[in-house]
């Protein structure tokens, strides 16, 4: 039998250059996900292919929930639809007990369609049409008001009716971190949030049920949550003291990190991110030490998305070509581009080969299949000697990619979920040209041409 071929490679040896992680210790191939062979998945469902692990989602959710419930008696998670609103994913979180947290009329309708009771839907975001607001009022959903225009629209909608809306306000604040997300909600320090509360409590049709904040995303400092919690508690106390209205819940939003590595980060994500326990400790300690009477402890709502699902998502891809850049660097072209891997704009995703290689590796840039210069998955990564047809696994892609993906240049691929018994379910079919053009209308006078 002939020996296995590996394409020839020559690498210049540089001495004296320090590598913060030492020399590479080899690239372990990832050949299966939850016991299902990657080759079987790709042979059946094609390439590229998104794979979601149900087991990983449930494990992560339960770990997060436990971190909070072991410290605080009243905890409720609400699944952030924008992080991943595939019906199968949302239903999985609802099975685990999550409410729905939506930020548009589209997402709201998706939650209703998924069977979430209206009163367990939190409606966030700056864009709620009059029709959306009316629907949320009728369903007794929790409307988190983002700005005065929305507040006054809601007042107008309810004027002259017997209906009452359950509302909270979103509050932005200085928690000592940069950038301060002051484009959403009412500002705490300027007194704007207080003015909004005063307006709400003076309205017969509005019930102020909670206070909400969402201080940022990929928050590396749990201490910022302690500051935010303290400010929400103070606002809740002041509201109760001056108006007699006791808010029922504090919603600390999301923003917990996944273990992905941010671009520009010196250390790997897994080495720097806080754990669920760190976040829980910061938030719960603040509430418990604030001085609420036991029967007045507010419900603690959390809307974390990324940290609950990123790790459960994999993107499988295939090498289309291996080429050489003008400076001699290797460039590998994959069939997974930024069109379906939006998060590669801010993460250095971990990438593993899906088959065995020798110990030889080379530095390379990884590009996607799009005929666009921006389509770069990794600017520099050391991987084995990949060749056309080889398969790769891109890790931690569960958050945002299956919602922020673009139908740009090419179509979006299949998404499968591996259930806890190892059975594979197709949860979103790959698009076809028909699924795209069905939305288009061609005017009669453009229906023919002669070339």
């Amino acid at each position: 039998m002939k020996p296995t071929y590996e394409r020839p490679v020559i690498q210049k040896l540089n001495t004296g250059l320090l590598n913060k992680f030492g020399t590479s210790t080899g690239h372990n191939p990832v050949r299966q996900i939850e016991g299902v062979a990657i080759s079987d998945l790709m042979d059946q469902y094609g390439s590229p292919l998104f794979v979601i692990s149900e087991k990983k989602i449930r494990q992560t959710y339960r770990r997060a929930l436990k971190a909070f419930t072991m410290r605080y008696p009243k905890v409720q998670f609400a699944w952030s639809y924008k992080t991943n609103y595939l019906d199968a994913v949302c239903s999985l979180f609802h099975q685990e007990g999550s409410w729905a947290e939506v930020v548009s009329g589209f997402e709201y309708r998706k939650a209703v369609r998924n069977g979430v009771p209206g009163n367990l839907i939190i409606f966030n975001g700056p864009d709620k049409s009059a029709e959306d607001l009316q629907m949320a009022v009728d369903n007794r959903s929790l409307i988190h008001i983002d700005h005065f225009d929305e507040l006054f629209s809601l007042i107008e909608i309810l004027q002259g009716t017997e209906k009452r809306a359950r509302v909270a306000i979103r509050i932005n604040m200085d928690t000592g971190i940069y950038p301060q997300w002051d484009r959403f909600g009412f500002n705490y320090e300027s007194g704007e949030a207080w003015n909004a509360i005063m307006k709400i409590v003076s309205q017969q049709n509005l019930e102020l049920e909670g206070l909400h904040c969402h201080i940022g995303t990929y928050m590396l400092t749990p201490g910022a949550y302690a500051v935010a919690t303290q400010k929400l508690c103070e606002l809740a106390r002041a509201t109760a003291d001056r108006t007699g209205v006791k808010v029922k819940y504090l919603d600390l939003g999301g923003g917990f990190c996944s273990s992905n590595t941010l671009k520009g980060s010196y250390l790997q994500g897994a080495d720097v991110i806080p754990s669920f326990d760190d976040y829980a400790e910061a938030i719960v300690n603040t509430i418990m030490h604030f001085g609420f009477r036991p029967e007045e402890l507010p419900l603690l709502i959390l809307e974390t998305g990324r940290a609950l699902i990123d790790e459960a998502g994999y993107l499988l891809g295939t090498v289309l070509a291996a080429k050489r850049l003008s400076d001699g660097r290797r460039a590998t072209i994959l069939d997974t581009g930024v069109n379906i891997l939006f998060t590669s704009f801010w993460y250095n995703h971990r990438i593993s080969p899906a088959q065995e290689f020798t110990q030889h590796a080379e530095e390379m840039a990884l590009y996607g299949p799009l005929c666009m210069n921006i389509d770069c998955i990794r600017e520099s990564v050391v991987l084995p000697l990949l060749k056309k047809g080889d398969r790769v696994v891109i890790h931690e892609v569960g958050a945002y990619n299956m919602t922020q993906w673009m139908q740009f240049i090419t179509l979006r691929p299949n998404v499968v979920m591996i259930d806890t018994t190892g059975k594979v379910h197709l949860i979103r079919k790959q698009e076809t040209i028909e699924s795209i053009v069905v939305q288009e209308c061609l005017p009669d006078h453009l229906k023919s041409f002669n070339l």
Binding site: K2, Y5, E6, P8, K12, L13, G328
Partner: protein, 83 residues
């Protein structure tokens, strides 16, 4: 294409260029090609030898060999050739 005569090639894939002081490492296939070049074989014969030696199609052999030879040239390991 000829390898410079003073280039040292060890049997485990360590390459040294005494002229520049640069050192390199190659994998097994790279070493195989370098030895054939050192023996004076041509691009065409190396391409067919690769296919005889390994499980390899003609297209891949041509693409990979051309790429490898261009890297040898860019690292100044080959003798000067008139264009």
């Amino acid at each position: 294409m000829n390898i410079r005569r003073n280039i040292a090639i060890s049997e485990n894939g360590f390459i040294f260029n005494p002229l520049t002081g640069d050192s390199f490492s190659v994998n097994e296939t790279g070493l195989f090609i370098l030895q054939k070049l050192k023996e004076g074989e041509t691009r065409e014969t190396i391409m067919s030898t690769l296919q005889e030696e390994f499980e390899l199609d003609a297209n891949s052999a041509e693409i990979d060999l051309n790429d490898f030879l261009s890297m040898l040239k860019s690292y100044q390991l080959t003798e000067y050739e008139d264009a």
